[in-house]
């Protein structure tokens, strides 16, 4: 990004858009990296402890609340239960694109783009609702 480009007034909004997108893109990668690390750590512990157990996923048994609610997962992970640690990593991963939408909302707010603040807030509300309450 050269100074001469920054200096052109009519390029300014586009540049801001693009610079912000780059920051958001980096943060997304960091989110994926952190969640993958948590999944790997939990996964290694899980395989050491339960690697020899039978694996049968032919029939569906809904996961217990310790692995299907945010409170249960955090509680289990803080006890270092390996299944819950893996699940925590997966929740962090699901939260990553939601963070992206939240950051996009901030970006539109900065640009005082009210129409897109509204549109983005609506999308964010749906995503947060899905992750926290999970009733569709």
């Amino acid at each position: 990004m050269s100074d001469s480009r920054l200096g052109r007034a009519n390029d300014a909004p586009r540049l801001t858009d693009h610079a912000l997108e780059q920051i958001i893109g980096r943060l997304l990668q960091i989110g994926v990296l952190i969640s993958a690390l948590v999944v790997v750590l939990g996964g290694v512990a899980l395989l050491i402890r339960y690697g020899g157990a039978p694996a049968d996923f032919r029939s569906f048994r809904a996961e217990p609340s310790e692995l299907s609610t945010l409170v249960g997962i955090v509680r289990g992970a803080s006890r270092l239960d390996s299944h819950a640690v893996v699940q925590l990593g997966l929740v962090l991963l699901i939260a990553t694109p939601i963070m992206r939408v939240a950051l996009t909302l901030v970006a539109f707010w900065w640009q005082r783009d009210r129409l897109y603040v509204g549109i983005t807030a609506f999308v964010l509300a749906l995503l947060v609702y899905g992750l926290f309450w999970g009733r569709a």
Partner: protein, 278 residues
């Protein structure tokens, strides 16, 4: 089969899916579900839960690279995410009542359509200059970098595109895939966005759409750590390796191989769906 064997087999299969998916541009998610359900007899619900998680990982992991190139259109993306997110929540709501056999048939149709599109996506249409009045109102018209400098483009067919995006959201939730082919169809064909803008904006949207239904499925107990663990890590590493290889690999043969795999899986899904064996 023990947990260790299961994890190894699924991890290797998911790695190949991610690798081929990124080399061919079709995404890994579309072969993960048939791999789990048809070959390993995993329940459809666990399969879509795990697949959605891997879709989020590859979409978010690739975002930084796409963003650097400056192709994606944030306003188009976020506006259409209203449709995909609502669609994904509707899809998640009806997923429980649709018989698995019907989902298998829908999956087979999606696989065949993806294989067909992979060979049709070549030529780019000239940028549109006649914007939909709604696109102007929503400030969707933009420009993108080309070899001849910045090229501006107009956006057409906003409402039909929005409708197709709703369908993409429903399909994504029902089948546990990114449904990038439907998203690209909506933007490239219906809204007349340049092809590169369509594909990169689609990638930007895929993770958000998948997160909407994945959140719901988490609460419904569809996300099983032992299944999702190897799928997520396998697809993600496969996609990352694929992105590195992209410049050197001969994609023509890969496309042929991958299309053959997709067609075989499609026939399997259609057959199992129709006979109720899924």
């Amino acid at each position: 089969m023990t947990v260790l064997t299961f994890t190894t087999v699924v991890g290797l299969g998911s790695f190949c899916a991610g690798l081929l998916g990124s080399l061919t541009g079709l995404g890994g998610g579309i072969v993960v579900v048939p791999l789990l359900t048809v070959l390993l007899h995993v329940d459809f619900r666990y399969a879509i839960g795990a697949s959605l998680v891997s879709v989020i990982a590859t979409s978010s992991g690739a975002a930084a690279a796409y963003v650097r190139e400056g192709y994606s259109n944030i306003r188009v993306g976020i506006f259409l995410e209203v449709a995909t997110t609502v669609g994904a929540l509707v899809g998640a709501a009806i997923a429980g009542v649709i018989p698995t056999g019907a989902l298998g048939i829908l999956f087979g149709v999606m696989l065949l359509y993806s294989a067909y599109r992979m060979f049709r996506s070549g030529g780019d249409h000239p940028p549109s200059t006649a914007p939909d009045p709604l696109a102007t109102k929503l400030r969707l018209n933009s420009s993108y970098p080309t070899s001849a400098g910045m090229q501006s483009y107009a956006v057409e067919g906003v409402l039909p595109g929005f409708g197709l995006m709703f369908v993409a959201g429903v399909v994504s939730a029902l089948l546990g895939i990114g449904s990038g082919v439907v998203k690209v169809l909506a933007m490239d064909r219906t809204m007349k966005l340049p092809f590169k803008v369509s594909t990169t904006t689609s990638n930007f949207m895929i993770g958000v759409t998948a997160a909407a239904s994945a959140g719901v499925y988490l609460h419904r107990g569809y996300i099983e750590p032992v299944v999702a663990l190897p799928v997520m890590l396998g697809v993600l590493t496969g996609a990352l390796v694929g992105a590195r290889l992209l410049t050197t690999a001969s994609t023509r043969w890969l496309r042929i191989v991958f299309t053959a795999v997709v067609v075989v899986l499609a026939v399997e899904m259609l057959y199992k769906g129709a006979t109720g064996a899924l």
